[in-house]
């Protein structure tokens, strides 16, 4: 995770203008594959989010992968970044990762203190998946 995270940090730090940073995230959001309509069900939906976000886990050779989607482009981009960072790791590796590290991405949405913080809810969902796998 650390490696992928650092890639993103580096990539995002290339932009002097904050608008360019969001241009990049929007671009990611637009290019990210969509879920099929029948995958957008409550089971995969993030509770407590200002927009609709879905995260689906896939398990391949003991490692977790994530399919993500959202009805807003920016959140879609952010979800994509998150899904990518945590992809291809063992559940325990995910659980060991300190989420504070993500703040280094410097995206205000990540550190938003509002009670319905979508980003925190997304991370919680990913951790929940990792916990479920670990237990199962």
């Amino acid at each position: 995770m650390q490696e992928k995270l650092e890639n993103y940090i580096e990539e995002l730090s290339l932009f002097d203008d904050i608008m360019d940073k969001y241009e990049y995230i929007i671009d990611l959001g637009k290019r990210a594959p969509s879920l099929r309509e029948n995958e957008k069900i409550d089971e995969y939906k993030i509770q407590g989010c200002q927009s609709s976000v879905w995260i689906i886990k896939e398990l391949r050779e003991g490692k977790l992968y994530f399919k993500t989607d959202s009805d807003t482009v920016i959140v879609r981009g952010l979800a994509r970044i998150l899904g990518d960072i945590f992809a291809a790791h063992l559940p325990q590796e995910i659980l060991n990762f300190d989420t504070k590290e993500l703040e280094k991405l410097g995206l205000q949405e990540i550190i938003s203190p509002v009670r319905l913080n979508g980003f925190t809810s997304m991370i919680n969902k990913i951790y929940q998946y990792a916990k479920d796998e670990n237990r199962g």
Partner: protein, 395 residues
């Protein structure tokens, strides 16, 4: 220009280069309000209504003067009709628990109500009847009348100006209609009071609620008007020290309203600041405020209307003090984020009117709301940022 002078009264605009278009959430506070609170906090800070000491009397006196200022501002007959609350939400809860629970058969609301004017009625488990809207979200007065006819002893609880769609209800007409059927009426003036004069005697409202923080005053304070005739019907709500004549373990004799409802140490500094805010508002005057704000709103609407694919949910001409819109195929949340990055502070989301949004088949909108200090430069910067955001999201 008066508009620049007004802006100077608000320290916020010296400190910040943000475009603040979220006054419907909370207004900025002028210096005179902060100074009034500071004077309490540093010169005559004491608890009220309890001590015979001079400091306590000074504080009590200022607190009661604030009540008078608010009473006069709302044109009420008697200052005991004004109760200090935490804000509109507390005021409505108070009416629900202390009056409606016992005396209302059901509650009739409009289709534009804020959650704070829905949940308190749910909580007392009264049937809730919603007045149907016509196209453009205006209330169907015939349906309203049929609800009144079918439901004797109803309480009617109406938003005055919609916080989400800027529409103003014809409340004088609606109150008169309700009274004709024997219903009592509560008015949620959270959004209207800072934009237009409220004359309770003329409206003949039975209950009316306002929040200080939406009237250029501090957070944590509001006022509830209860018509004197109804005082004998109102039961105690939050109880404790200060609300009483005599306490025994098995019963308590309460003081009359408003004191019965102001138990515990109230927000003394807040009440004093609220009084100062009303004085500030009156010093500017509604004649200026209405003209200025209508200009700003018209200016914003003119430019917004030219934006491709913009969606409004009500008649453009009927929007006052706030404007709600969407751009088709763009999520309001994306716009909110990008506007923020360009220093433009608007609110996006459901604006605490989820049932109304559900009725419209949407999740939310972008809302732009203005205040006494908003100027055309704010609108220009907003429009510019909006266009750039749309380009980025569509591009």
């Amino acid at each position: 220009m008066q508009s620049e002078m007004i802006r100077d009264d608000f320290a916020f605009f010296n400190h910040s280069d943000l475009v603040y278009l979220d006054s419907a959430s909370t207004t900025q506070k002028p210096k005179s309000v902060l100074e009034a609170m500071d004077a309490y906090n540093t010169q005559y800070c004491a608890n009220i209504h309890r001590s015979s000491h001079g400091l306590g009397n000074a504080a009590t006196s200022k607190y009661e003067t604030a009540r008078e200022i608010i009473g006069k501002f709302l044109h009420v007959g008697d200052k005991s009709e004004i109760i200090f609350t935490k804000g509109v939400t507390e005021g409505i809860n108070l009416v629900a628990q202390s009056y409606a629970k016992e005396h209302a058969s059901c509650v009739i609301i409009s289709a534009l109500e804020h959650h704070s004017n829905i949940l308190p009625w749910q909580q007392i488990k009264k049937p809730l009847h919603v007045i149907q809207t016509k196209e453009n979200l205006t209330p169907d007065l015939e349906h309203f009348e049929s609800l009144l006819a079918q439901n004797p002893n109803a309480l009617v609880a109406l938003i005055h100006t919609s916080n989400a769609f800027g529409i103003t209800h014809p409340i004088k007409e609606m109150i008169a209609l309700a009274h004709r059927y024997g219903a009592k009426v509560l008015i949620d003036a959270a959004q209207s009071a800072s934009h237009m004069p409220i004359n309770i005697s003329d409206l003949d409202a039975d209950f009316l609620v306002i929040s200080g923080h939406k009237l250029y005053g501090p957070t944590g304070i509001g006022a509830l008007y209860i018509k004197k005739d109804l005082h004998p019907l109102c039961n105690p709500y939050q109880v404790g020290g200060g609300a009483i004549m005599q306490v025994f373990y098995d019963h308590t004799e309460y003081l009359p309203i408003p004191y019965m409802y102001e138990s515990g140490t109230p927000n003394i500094a807040g009440a004093i600041g609220f009084g100062a805010a009303i004085e500030y508002l009156q010093s500017v005057g509604y004649a200026y405020i209405a003209k200025h704000e209508q200009n700003i709103i018209a200016y914003a609407l003119e430019q917004l209307s030219q934006i491709e694919d913009i969606l409004f949910y009500t008649q453009v001409a009927s929007m006052q003090s706030n404007i709600s819109f969407n751009i088709s195929n763009i999520h309001h949340h994306d716009l909110g984020i990008l506007l923020d990055k360009q220093k433009v502070q608007v609110r996006v989301g459901h604006h605490c009117v989820q049932p109304t949004m559900r009725f419209l088949g949407i999740d939310g909108t972008v809302r732009v709301s203005v205040g006494i200090y908003t100027n055309k430069a704010d609108i220009d910067q907003f429009i510019k940022a909006l266009k750039r955001s749309i380009a980025m999201l569509k591009g």
